[in-house]
Amino acid sequence: MATVQPGRTVPAMRARPTPGPLNRRRLLGGAAYAAGALALPVGLAACEKPTDGGGGGGTVTFGSNYSDEVPKKAVAEVLAASGLDVKINTVDHNTFQENITRYLQATPDDVFTWFSGFRMQYFAAQGLATDISDIWQSIGGDFSAAMKQASTGTDGKQYFVPFYYYPWAVFYRKSVFQEKGYQVPKTWDDLKALATKMKSDGLIPIAMADKDGWPAMGTFDYINMRSNGYDFHVSLMAGKESWEDNRVKQVFTLWRELLPYCQPGANGRTWQEAAQSLGQKQTGMYLLGMFVGQQFQGEVAADMDFFPFPQIVEAHGQDAVEAPIDGFMISSKVKNVDGAKELLRYLASAKAQNAYLRSDPNNVATHNGADTSGYSALQKKAVELVGGAKQISQFLDRDTRPDFASTVMIPSLQSFLNKPDDVDGLCKRIESQKKTIFAS
């Protein structure tokens, strides 16, 4: 001990090079900065603490997945015109969807954007949504029965206000059909005959893309609903039917008949690329949602038309239309119920829907009295299509459990497109995975 002299410690310290960006003073400075930084959001929060609760007047919080630039702006304008003090919390749609269960259980906003059908019923059944049957008593007359049906939970109460929808149909270019003298096919045989004719004319008859996994679901839905009917489709989606049922195998067998007419290599193509091939007259038809219109401008956009998916079995005709509906719900942890309900009443009005749809030519308002004078020809046709529908389906990934759709159906449909021959094995695999998922 005696050999250690205090003085020696000092040069030892100095002798060390100091490559570190951090010394003690800077560390202290950093700590001070950190404290300041933490205080910053606190300071912001302090300004924002509103007088919540109370008699319906206060702020309504609005959880939004309208994260794309145009809809984000449009929805902000619509909400600003509501006359209520609405605070919007926008989360990008992907994260929003993946987090929805956690979001609803923790600190959800009063009103949130969501989808109708099974996905709405799933959360309503878990008690995560507020019953809004009272709103429907006053707004019920403004919506079709199918819309009301799509807003109703499994317990018969309403939980959802529909805002807009977009139908799925087979899109084509009018000029191509005119030039070659093609007729819109009414039945499955017509469709195959048309496809054969297109093929001999050097066109790829049917555009097909499934790189992202979901676009091909639309084809499955339509073939299933046309050949087995809407009711079977819904109960299959709800996990109540076996995927090894012959009726399901029939769907894949029918689909396989179309594959020789489809663009090969669908799993490597995005729907945008498939849509472009339609726009460039390389392909003849494309089954997709109205949002396909985002890909076309000017002359090509004006040349677009669609026809409903052809009939397969006469009993089911062309009854069902696939038209996913987007809308709003109130969370069960709502802080300002009166304000939230007032906001939903406003969003269910024709005025709010007209205002929103002015920015969006690829959707259609759900309100019966919405102003259709500004609609494009396609939008008008969509209203007709859905208005005449006996049933409205919501698209596979909305009509069934999200985990089943993404972890089972996406890879299954992609493997079907790759190897369409093994239908039995495919259905067996889907069924065994379905049992595990629906049991949880």
Partner: protein
Amino acid sequence: MSGDRDTQPVGRRNRRPVGPWRVVIRVFLWAMALGWLVPLLLPLYASLRPYAETAAEGYFSLPKTLNFDYYVQAWQGGNLPRHFLNTLLVAVPAVVLTLFFASFVAFLISRRRLPGGRLLLILFTAGNLLPQQVVLTPLYLMYTKIPLPWWMSWPSELVYDSYWGIIAIHVAFQTGFCVFVLSNYMDTIPRELIEAATVDGAGVWRQYWQVVLPLVRPALGALGTLEFAWIYNDFLWAVVLMSTGDKLPVTSALNNLRSVYFTDYNLLAAGSILVALPTLIVFFVLQRQFVAGLTLGANKG
């Protein structure tokens, strides 16, 4: 990490005449280096070209248009400045707190011979091996049940959806590694220094603050840069434990650049490069710290 470690001995190898074996190695190394660079260079190239062009001609075609339009669009459309600030609000306090706490524990274990200190060290190191995803759901449930006053967390008034919660989880997970590194580094400081300080009447705090801490500066610097990069890159915790879109860090803001039905990968590439830029800059400027950080505490002096 191991890749970085391997590059050192290769560089230091003695100069020998170039034999055929050496050519093979060179070719192999160049191929590997290219393999690592392509995922970085390809997005950079794509981000400078309009979507319509790459859609028509493929990503490997020669450019017709090269511009920075996507960078402007990503910066504004993705609201990146705000999310960069959010990331700083999490990363800076988390790094500072982690280093502060870790140096305390390391000091106790290494210099004060805390009873059971080694066990604690093993525990910390073992904790590091735990996959973070395991505690995801329990943590989420806990966070939604712990209240905070409204001036600390608004509007949730919970640890959930607040920066405090995110900072806490980062500190908790990163402290283990830092304690391990720092205590091994402190072991290399001559015991006599502390003894001398004790003789001079320095208390424990003074020994820590004025004797040991200045000596572990290189280790702190290395850990600081490493930890900053790790916490900056975090995506999981913020997305799971936050519900307010405007509070999310920059890594999750990339999702804002994807639209509902359509993803413009060129725009996304521009955004990714902007988001990766700070870590790249930190890495290139403080490269030496990084490499030092990786081998710190690997051997005892």
